[in-house]
Amino acid sequence: MVSPVYFQFDHPYPSPSHFVVETPQLNARVERKHQHILNVARALLFQSHLPKQFWCYAVNHAVFLINRVSTPLLGHKTPYQLLYDSLPDIKLFKVFCSLCYASTIMSHRSKHDPRARKCCFLCYKSGFKGSVLFDLHSREIFISRNVIFHDHILPYPSSSKKNLEYFPSSSPQSSDSSIVTTVRHIIALASIHHWFIHQLYVNNAFLHGELQDNVYMQLPPGVKSSKPN
């Protein structure tokens, strides 16, 4: 998780890839870096409205960005520059979780299948010449190189909207236990507001609906019908 590129040049000792045991004073540097990375990652997550589960991609992209941004500590050069002795490719900079369309794989599609999948950009993966994408419909995470980016469009809905979709406005029919709860509430309100409170009984309630289907029944015992069928 911690950027290896950064460490090689930020540290006075060459490449401390192994720490000496029982030297907590070396932790401070790690903790400080950790804080920096998480600050950037949090900003990415908040801006994109992505759920927290995507933290690993945000951290990954944060490290990618930090390594390619110049810092006064390195004489206004980027860590990438010091390691590879070349400028980082600015074209690779994409907005975290921005809208993009990835081409579908040609061998997997027929003539009438969609040509692209609607995705959002998550990060680059080391060792791959492509970007990690999140398919907004199938919720699949995959790597693709044939992508058209639409930076500045953040397709992921903000959390408040999502919650509204998740909880339908109408709840299922109430059960018996909640009707007495409602009765208690009404009585409490009626008492405080000095309301009138009356009750009614409906006679033969179930006989009132209009029958639309054909329903037949056997004559109850003791009833004589003039027509036998």
């Binding site: 029919q173 109430s174 009707i179 208690r184 009404i186 409170i197 009356h198 409906v202 179930f206 029958l211």
Partner: protein, 221 residues
């Protein structure tokens, strides 16, 4: 065989059809169905506020305008024929008493019926619902022989919880053992009944002078 032309009691669709018909009538009268409880209908205007609660064929009307009450009663009577006993007194086993100080709610009759059905007419009384020295848990003692009667009893205690907050804790404890009740659990349930016998008419009181404030409480952990 005969063909039905109207709904009868016992027909599967009857309750649903009745509910549909009543709902459409109330909506046409300007009532709004509440989202949180579908049996609750609310009608508010600048001059009046009326709440209507339906439980199958029992209806409660609450509000500040008797004219509106009369209006609804006439409409319902024209469509269905209703009985109008006036002020709310008895609804789903809840006894309601009105006074100048407030409204009280109890389940005295329900409680006495429960005691009578359990044969508790002549038993000794206790002053607390549970014995503090006994902790209920899944013990290995022999199962209580009539499991379904234990479950029935707990079910009735649960309904009694509506107006009896004093037995809520012990009912919750007892209802954890519905699958495997033992003699210990049954004895504890019997103690609840003996406690209920000491005060069957206890209930809730809603004073008129209390304020409409929502208060929340939570325990420390």
């Amino acid at each position: 065989m005969c063909k039905l032309i109207k709904y009868l009691y016992g027909l599967k669709q009857a309750s649903r059809k009745w509910y549909e018909k009543l709902t459409s009538l109330l909506l046409a009268q300007g009532f709004k169905q509440a989202n949180s409880d579908h049996s609750l209908f609310i009608k508010s205007s600048s001059s009046s506020f009326t709440i209507l609660l339906v439980y199958v064929d029992d209806i409660i009307l609450a509000g500040n305008s008797l004219d509106e009450f009369q209006n609804i009663k006439t409409i319902l009577h024209n469509s269905f024929k209703i009985k109008d006993p006036g002020q709310l007194k008895y609804f789903l086993g809840l006894e309601v008493a009105h006074s100048k100080q407030g409204i009280s709610l109890c389940q005295r009759k329900y409680c006495l019926d429960l005691l009578a059905d359990s044969g508790f007419r002549n038993s000794k009384l206790v002053s607390t619902p549970s014995d503090p020295s006994i902790k209920l848990h899944n013990d290995s003692s022999p199962l209580y022989e009539d499991i379904s009667s234990y479950r029935r009893l707990i079910g009735r205690l649960l309904y009694l919880n509506t107006t009896r907050p004093d037995i809520i804790f012990v009912t919750q404890q007892l209802s954890q053992f519905l699958t495997k009740p033992t003699q210990t659990h049954y004895t504890a349930a019997m103690r609840v009944l003996r406690y209920l016998k000491s005060c069957p008419g206890k209930g809730l009181f809603f004073p008129r002078d209390s304020t409409l404030k929502l208060l929340g409480f939570s325990d420390a952990d």
